[in-house]
Symmetry: C2
Subunit: 211 residues, 2 copies
């Protein structure tokens, strides 16, 4: 049996592929490695056309081998479809009662941005880079984000209100993660939640703000 | 003297370069051609890294010759710096009294998107594609958009409030122009202005919404 691997923030192939006697640890390592691969893929898809990115590029960026990516995801297209899918992210984004959903979504987005440098929905902005794949990204976004939120809403114009609530989140993501606004980035998360959350909530449950 | 050119929606080199006896017309043609070149350049910068775009690409997309671009803009770098500058766009975006600025900005953005397919500030989202040029884009955005708006605001935290107001606009631009939300795109402009404008205004002049 190999000695216990040393703790490492950056998951690597060795720990993920090791014949670890503690299955919980091995599973966590595998999840961390998969997450690193997804992160690397997102990073590249924000900067290069889908067709220009090779498996080797993703492997290098993630600090793993290309065969390990194949082991986890099957092939490049399967990896990319996973990155172009919003379902897992939206699960946690929408995980709050409707009456507190505005603040929850703002908080969830800011926490992801500040703690992990990730955003649950922001990658839709890179759709223009990816030609037909961009259309798949748009269709996923509509079905898995906007329409999914609209299903939660009561009252008229739920489709429009959901799109406007999502607009607010997208804009905050752009300001934080892309424009890198210094005030938004340095303000306490709860301060921004209190300032911005009510505007999101007003789209979800209109009238509660003014009433 | 050449016969009067036929009216054309697409500006071309011939009309822009023609020795027209009516200076007003010639000037308008030149402006239309310059606008078409800027538009082509923006289109390409949303899809390709700055370094991969040639003058020929821009010329082809704009339907003009590369020498005409040089005549109007000097060189590729000068053209790109103009596209990476927000000053002219922000002039009209901010052209309203503070108490009506929220609705005005939303209306201005939606009108540009629906009538001309352009957005005054959305191109900041493509900063990640452009390496060091992306940093210039970010610096311009901060100075010419967020800080410029903050200067108009009274009361505490004007920098943060300006960034949050700009976030709202960015998000609406992403939803309309990139995600192509069907509800936002089909709603009457004034309907969206009434729903979304107050949230922008609340950042500009806090308390007027609830009060």
């Amino acid at each position: 049996m190999s000695p216990a691997p040393t703790a490492s923030a950056a998951p690597d192939e060795a720990s993920a592929a090791s014949d670890d006697s503690r299955p919980g640890r091995a599973r966590r390592d595998a999840e961390a490695t998969k997450a690193a691969i997804i992160r690397a893929c997102r990073y590249l898809l924000a900067r290069h056309a889908h067709t220009d990115i090779t498996l080797k590029d993703v492997a290098e960026r993630a600090g793993v081998s290309a065969p390990l990516i194949l082991k986890y995801f099957g092939n490049k297209d399967a990896l990319f479809s996973q990155v172009m899918n919003f379902e897992a992210d939206v699960e946690t984004l929408l995980d709050a009662p409707l009456e507190d959903l505005g603040r929850h979504m703002v908080r969830h987005l800011l926490t992801g941005q500040s703690e992990r440098g990730t955003d649950p929905i922001l990658r839709i902005v890179f759709a223009p880079l990816h030609g037909e794949q961009g259309d798949i990204l748009r269709a996923n976004f509509r079905a898995q984000v906007s329409d999914r939120l609209a299903e939660r809403l009561r009252g008229p114009d739920s489709g429009l209100r959901a799109e406007l609530a999502v607009s607010l989140l997208l804009g905050l993501g752009v300001m934080y993660g892309i424009a890198r606004g210094p005030h938004v980035r340095s303000a306490p998360v709860e301060d921004v939640v209190e300032r911005y959350g009510p505007a999101v909530q007003e789209q979800l449950t209109p009238g509660t703000l003014a009433g």
